[in-house]
Symmetry: C2
Subunit: 461 residues, 2 copies
């Protein structure tokens, strides 16, 4: 992607073209639930509150179908207000083949060994908006993009330190020293592969949705285990936390119009034409009105962490680029997240103003070194879409996790039961610690990934 | 500042104009040392190693001249390689007058009360480059800019919560609730004032240097005490740390081409014309050469935290936008810092490529709540230019501070003596913990600010 590309794509000269009506060339993306839910109806525990006639069904994999690392999974649909669950999930084994450097003159890379060379595992949650299509495409596609990106650099990953040249040939004798001085580690190649995979997947979704005449976008939260490390990549407002006996550690942070205010305001500063004269990039405590004209009111611009006062002019009365607080904050009055996949066609209602230029598909990646962690029996990673975190804090989830696991040490299905229990807790069922009336009406999906005895035995053939 | 301004200033259409030769209209900024050093020759302790004929003089205020909070200060010049010390320092009382809202129909703000309304203290270090002029102007100017910016919002600062309207009039009854929901606190107004003051000072320096036909820039590290809080604002590579008996806490972080790589690369991505075809924005472990052509080598672009491999093309052989490691890292082969004041005329040697578009004058501000801290006898803030931190780590400085203060409890001049001792430690004198041969040849300036019994009694009339 180049700056020229950005300008051609988002800043056409002359009047803005009308949005092209979607011309379906392929059949629409079919709706589906994750493959590993096949055969499961609603959740079926003996104590299952979901059996109450007023309750929504909690779904989880049928007993006997085990997920990687014996992880637990459960989901619930949004108060059945819509027909579709816009959340999607995926997990599985990640098999990286070795690509070797050809001996031909053209020095092309070739897959000389088609067998798996390095294996890992993959868990992913996608929270869709504007329809389920983007999340379904992401669940179908992202792991393949990641596999491809990892295979492209796998030769560099198996060395102690990534070589300057992927071929391993040393053009300059002090190349290893340059790499060492930059502090480049093999985990940086996995981070780079995750970043590239998210972008590649975003492009695939853009093409597929355009071809099928569909719209929509989704967030993406991915955990990948590889060579003794757990990588958590996040683009959106889902969240992963590590829960241990004495520790609750966030493994991701949320990307919303509020948390990315400065980046978004700065883009509008650089390319004011993206707002088409309809929005103000400045932040005020509330939307301004005529009575505020000429007054000095609190404001923030792109370069400010603090607040100051400015004299209100007429242009400040426009609708704000970022508006609302907390869960209600919206980008261009439209979108609650600032990173994710898809949304290539998304425009502000009844205008030609595009959202996509303000959105990033690149994730933030955190790395958990499992060897250093020495995981204990009850150590888990909890990944969930925002429906869970809207009503439960990290600490409340950690309390539920610890008390459940301590009380269910012998149950081989305890991580699956824990995932279901967490979902039920968002519905005010069981011994939910949430306050009366504070119930999630959003789609909610949860993975519980146990860390004990995992991450060892990572081998390359 | 608007995006149009940025484009007009840095992106002229057509061929780039030749740099205007400076046309001095005013006399050059006269060289000087900080006012509070008047009367001091070199440092004069009985044990003073600076008396050795081969040693450089350590300067500090004469005994009897006390700085705010009885702070200590000392400085040393760069191995006397140049005639001038490019570091500058300033400190003093900060007197904020109250500006009241006029009753006139035009509702203009007026300084109705010329006496001080709120008082604080101010300590600042400036590390100049390309000559001493910018640092001298900053030391002469920044505190006035800050006073002006604080006076413009002081009405909002004295309330428990900043009012939506500076006049205090309530256009909308739920205005306080909007401010509350945004979490806007009075300290955000001080942060905003510091951000604005740095920018205003940068503009003043630009005008003054142009008028006097001089060049140069400087970093700026400022500590401000106000209403029980200590604000540390930093633009550049100086550093402030809090040293307590059981804690060493960084109060600033450095802004260099390395730490701001993604921001700088992104600007070059958006405005490739800023590189005039002479530089590549991509990062590689070392500068590439002809032998690397066609090879797949490690690289990073603006959107990447991780690393990946790319096939080397001819354009990748250009000089890198950011080059070198650690202390040697340079922006456009020229500058070691990415934030600061001045440098309006700075260009890459023998080209017309400007540095200024890549530089930010806005500081990062951290806040130390003195009331919560309950400072003890030996708690101090150490502020110093990079010459100190090049050879001493935070932990080494903390060790020197603790052992010195414990051994000199009764000395009323101990903070001044400590500042001198820290300077001498960079020269391999005294019981310096630095390794043999690892001596600072840069200018070094140090403030030691004791926190005990301070920050209380902050009153507004």
């Amino acid at each position: 992607m180049s700056a020229d590309w950005f300008r051609r794509r988002f800043l056409p000269r002359g009047p803005l073209p009308a949005p092209r009506p979607p011309r379906p060339r392929t059949s629409p993306v079919p709706y589906r639930r994750p493959r590993f839910l096949r055969g499961s109806g609603s959740s079926s525990g003996t104590n299952d509150a979901s059996r109450r006639p007023d309750a929504r069904p909690v779904r989880s994999p049928v007993r006997g179908r085990s997920l990687p690392w014996n992880a637990g999974y459960a989901e619930i649909i949004n108060a059945e207000k819509s027909e579709f669950n816009e959340d999607q999930a995926a997990c599985g084994k990640l098999c990286i083949r070795r690509c070797e450097f050809g001996v031909e003159e053209d020095q092309e890379w070739q897959t000389l060994c088609s067998e798996e060379f390095l294996t890992g595992h993959y868990w992913a949650l996608f929270d869709g908006h504007g329809g389920p299509a983007a999340a379904i495409l992401a669940a179908n596609t992202l792991h393949s993009c990641l596999r491809r990106q990892l295979e492209a650099v796998v030769e560099g990953m198996v060395a102690t330190q990534p070589p300057m040249h992927l071929s391993g040939c040393c053009v300059c004798p002090s190349d290893p020293q340059f790499v060492e001085e930059k502090g480049i580690r093999t985990e940086d190649l996995v981070i780079g592969a995750l970043e590239s995979a998210f972008q590649e997947c975003d492009e695939v979704i853009g093409r597929e949705l355009e071809a099928s005449g569909q719209v929509g976008g989704c967030t993406a939260l991915v955990a990948v285990s590889l060579k003794g490390k757990l990588y958590v990549a996040n683009a959106g407002d889902s969240r992963a936390i590590l829960v241990r006996r004495d520790e609750v550690r966030p493994l991701s942070s949320e990307f919303t119009p509020e948390t990315e205010r400065q980046r978004i305001q700065q883009l509008a500063f650089i390319y004011p034409e993206l707002l088409a004269g309809e929005f103000t990039r400045l932040e005020f405590p509330r939307r301004l009105k005529g009575d505020d004209l000429g007054q000095k009111v609190l404001f923030r611009d792109h370069h400010m962490s603090g607040w100051s006062y400015k004299c209100v002019e007429k242009s400040d009365l426009k609708y704000p680029l970022i508006h609302g607080q907390g869960r209600q904050a919206r980008l261009l009055g439209t979108l609650a997240v600032s990173r994710g996949l898809g949304d290539h066609q998304l425009r502000v209602l009844d205008t030609n103003i595009q959202l996509k230029p303000f959105l990033l598909s690149v994730p933030q990646v955190t790395v958990l070194n499992m060897d250093q962690l020495e995981p204990q029996e009850e150590d888990v990673v909890v990944m969930a879409t925002d429906g869970l975190w809207d009503v439960l804090s990290n600490e409340q989830v950690a309390w539920l996790v610890r008390s459940f696991l301590l009380g269910n040490r012998e149950d081989p299905h305890r991580f699956s039961e824990l995932a279901k229990m967490l979902i039920r807790s968002t519905q005010g069922m069981d011994d939910s610690p949430i306050q009366e009336g504070q119930v999630s009406y959003d789609d909610v999906s949860v993975f519980v990934i146990p860390l004990h005895h995992q991450g060892q035995g990572h081998s390359s053939r």
